[in-house]
């Protein structure tokens, strides 16, 4: 986001999702405290904060990953718009939620299968098995993930033989293939070298035209580079949220300023 770009009042922007009074508990430990946060459509929202502040926990609420482990509990809502469904409602199947949202993890985690089968997996479990449709959608996803030119001639090779940066772009392609409404990135470059990190950041920047993005990052420069909005979290609280350059250059809270200027964190 360049400084002279027009910044409309966020309240006029269309929302893709909204957390309402969201609290989360690991057993009896309260990890998120009544978070209220809008996610604007076709924008990149970055979650920053020191380790243990709950940013990854918050991200993993969106696709109900916490349901996989016992003892976890949600309170409050995450509304997905425009159909206004509460993703956290007990009657909403977490599998349905995961079919609509996609996630890219901290460490590249391709399946030890071929490049083709990695990208095809999400489609296959959605019942798409026709070769021509798979071919088309896999090509499209790999192009969107800026990986097509590197792998077009070796789609049957093992995905785990790709470099770390390529693996992460493959994971992005795998997530994109099923055309998610919202994409969740959980520190996607923390295991990558600076060059691979640069290409992933560029990719995230391009992807916002197609999909709404929520990204957790421990790297403040990355948040500044890729995001439109930034939310600063601390110990399970949402401390500050706003346009990224406002949060970085004109923070309202002293605590945010201290974190951003490196005085703590």
């Amino acid at each position: 986001m360049t400084a002279d770009e027009q910044k409309p009042d966020p309240s006029t922007l269309p929302k893709k999702a909204e957390a309402k009074d969201l609290s989360f508990y690991y057993g009896s430990k309260r990890a998120l405290k009544q978070i209220n946060l809008p996610i604007y459509e076709h924008r990149v929202t970055a979650l920053i904060g020191p380790s243990g502040c709950g940013k990854s926990t918050f991200l993993r609420c969106f696709n109900r990953m916490h349901d996989l482990y016992p003892g976890n509990r949600y309170e409050g809502e995450i509304r997905l718009l425009p159909d206004n469904v509460n993703l956290l409602a007990p009657e909403v199947d977490p599998i349905e939620v995961r079919m609509r949202l996609a996630m890219v993890f901290q460490k590249p985690n391709p399946f030890p299968k071929s490049i083709f089968e990695n990208v095809a997996y999400g489609l296959r479990i959605r019942g798409i098995n026709a070769r021509s449709e798979l071919d088309d959608r896999i090509e499209k996803a790999l192009k969107n993930a800026a990986l097509w030119n590197e792998v077009r001639d070796r789609l049957d090779d093992l995905a785990t033989n790709l470099s770390g940066g390529q693996q992460q772009r493959l994971c992005i392609a795998r997530a994109l293939a099923s055309e998610p409404e919202l994409m969740l990135f959980d520190e996607p470059t923390s295991a990558l070298d600076p060059i691979a990190t640069g290409s992933i950041e560029e990719l995230i920047h391009q992807l916002r035209d197609q999909v709404t993005i929520l990204i957790v990052t421990h790297n403040m420069q990355q948040a500044a580079r890729v995001s439109d909005f930034t939310a600063y979290m601390y110990l399970g609280d949402l401390v500050e949220f706003g346009w990224t350059d406002d949060v970085f250059f004109r923070p309202k809270q002293k605590q945010t300023e201290d974190y951003i200027t490196g005085r703590f964190g």
Binding site: M65, R98, N109, R174
Partner: protein
């Protein structure tokens, strides 16, 4: 005032002290290496001595006839046909029962079972079962399969008994193989919308197959040499016919009569021959033992090869 130590370096005596210390440490390192080599050597020499002994005593008896003859009162005519066919058929039943039961139990315990006291209790008991003496399985089988179910001293009874015996091994191996699949691979599948069974079927099971197969084969190599339980259920020591063939000339072309056939097995045949006073039967016993050891070695080699083949493409 303190001396500027960095620029001056260490005193000569100081360095020699460090060198003396290092050589002392290295001497201990070498001593442990020698101790380890001696321990390994003892095991290897014992095995080689046993194996050489068997070869020297039994090799002269190994001929095609030895594999195609039934046991006989005359040592030079006696063969292991009934024994190896018996062992082979029993192993088929054992594998057919123990693999699906053991793998399914392992998957359930790792991926489905809730973490509570009941699961813990089951886990502890599976580990205990692995240590129960095999004769106890034989007694269980005698009461349950032979008497209560009336299955007799048959191939089926022996197969079921040995399947029970190796079930804990298969379950434990399956669980360990499943646990080796990283959580992030599971999460990747779930995040794409997979159900638990899709995740297991498409990911956990294929990726843990090398470990499961290794466990199955280790279990079978244990079962192949078991004597006590099959003696307990009443396997015959002398038999001069084969179980009926599984394929028949008449419809439905498949017959399962072989399951209810009486049988003998390699370890029983070996035991039977060793208890004879004649020298010539001792040679037969050595030859049969050699065959059994080679069967086990082949199974283990197969396990190693399969594991190598399947693991080649697995990395995270």
């Amino acid at each position: 005032m303190s001396e500027p130590r960095i620029a001056k370096g260490r005193a000569r005596e100081d360095v020699e002290g460090i060198r003396a210390l290092i050589s002392n440490h290295k001497r201990k390192d070498l001593m442990f290496a020698l101790l380890g080599m001696a321990a390994l050597g003892l095991a290897a020499v014992t095995f080689i001595a046993l194996f050489t002994g068997m070869v020297m005593d039994g090799a002269s008896r190994l001929s095609p006839d030895f594999f195609t003859n039934f046991a006989s009162r005359r040592a030079e005519n006696a063969g292991i046909l009934a024994a190896w066919v018996g062992t082979f058929t029993v192993m088929i039943v054992t594998a057919a029962v123990a693999v699906p039961l053991g793998v399914a139990s392992g998957i359930y315990l790792e991926e489905y079972a809730p973490r509570n006291w009941l699961t813990d209790l089951i886990e502890i008991n599976i580990n205990n079962l692995a240590g129960v003496p095999s004769i106890v399985y034989g007694l269980l089988a005698l009461g349950l399969f032979v008497h209560t179910f009336g299955l007799g001293a048959s191939v089926l009874t022996a197969g079921l008994t040995l399947a029970l015996l190796i079930l804990p091994v298969v379950i434990v191996a399956t669980r360990e193989a499943i646990r080796a699949v990283p959580g992030m691979i599971r999460e990747a599948a779930y995040a794409l919308g997979a159900t638990r069974w899709q995740m297991v079927q498409h990911h956990v099971l294929p990726y843990s197959m090398p470990g499961i197969l290794t466990g199955v084969i280790i279990g079978l190599s244990r079962a192949i040499g078991e004597t006590a339980p099959i003696v307990t259920i009443g396997a015959v020591t002398f038999i001069a016919f084969l179980p009926p063939a599984p394929v028949t000339a008449d419809p439905p072309f498949l017959s399962f009569d072989w399951l209810s056939s009486p049988f003998t097995a390699m370890p029983i045949q070996i035991f039977n021959w060793t208890s004879r006073p004649e020298e010539a039967f001792q040679a037969n016993a050595s030859a049969a033992a050699l065959v059994l050891v080679v069967m086990t070695l082949i199974m283990n080699a197969l396990a190693i090869w399969l594991r190598y083949r399947l693991r080649k493409n697995l990395k995270w």
